[in-house]
Symmetry: C2
Subunit: 136 residues, 2 copies
């Protein structure tokens, strides 16, 4: 298979340190977190403001890349399901998607609400969340 080089642009700084205690999704009780980005990408933050909705993309470095099927949400009563039909961190390319709200931008530090990734998780992209077609 072909491959591309995914560059780590920064890291999550969060009070969450244990994946077993992290909420499964950002809207299930995640704390505020800081994305400490590399100074070289600071210009890419221009235009982000408090209150904006963004999608943060992370590399879920604790995920198992050889897993193709799981019991959703680790619930053994749910049938084994292909990882493409789940949000499991175990998948061939463990990219995490996190819809968050911007709380503050300070240099190359972006503080967000609603990020369930643990401290030290690599950040690979940030995108504005899409609203209605007319707002783009």
């Amino acid at each position: 298979m072909d491959a591309f080089e995914l560059r780590v642009l920064g890291y999550v700084r969060s009070p969450l340190t244990d994946p077993a205690h992290a909420p499964r999704q950002g809207d299930e009780g995640a704390p505020d977190a800081v994305l400490e980005l590399d100074a070289s990408v600071q210009p890419a933050l221009a235009g982000l403001e408090t209150g904006m909705a963004v999608v943060v993309l992370t590399w879920l470095h604790l995920g198992d890349r050889d897993t193709l099927a799981v019991h959703p949400r680790d619930d053994r009563s749910r049938p084994l399901t292909g990882v493409f039909a789940t949000r499991s961190p175990d998948r061939p390319n463990p990219i995490g998607l996190h819809r968050c709200e911007v709380l503050a931008v300070d240099g190359s530090r972006l503080t967000v609400r609603g990020l369930e990734a643990v401290d030290g998780t690599p950040v690979v992209d940030v995108k504005i969340a899409l609203g209605d077609v007319g707002e783009r």
Copy 2:
């Protein structure tokens, strides 16, 4: 900076061939498309069914990885904006996010509605779209 290896899991097959003619987002008039995935990841599709909403992640191979700011939607009347505040394909890690509807699953081929990526775009992940917390 650190880096990870992003594996290409398959390719988009679409009547869209010219980026200049592709819609900017999937809900702006994208045609049906087929994700031709590698046979090795077919088990990861188990559980996907017609009508489900998924997020397809692509590698926007035509994107410029050195671009950090753009005029949104190529509109010069809009101020230069950091790429993290946009959905530009030009960005350090050109990952595309596409919310699509599953039309059919046939072996390792996944047919979807609403994918604006051009023919030949590499596919790197598929995830179920999140509904309300109670549906997870």
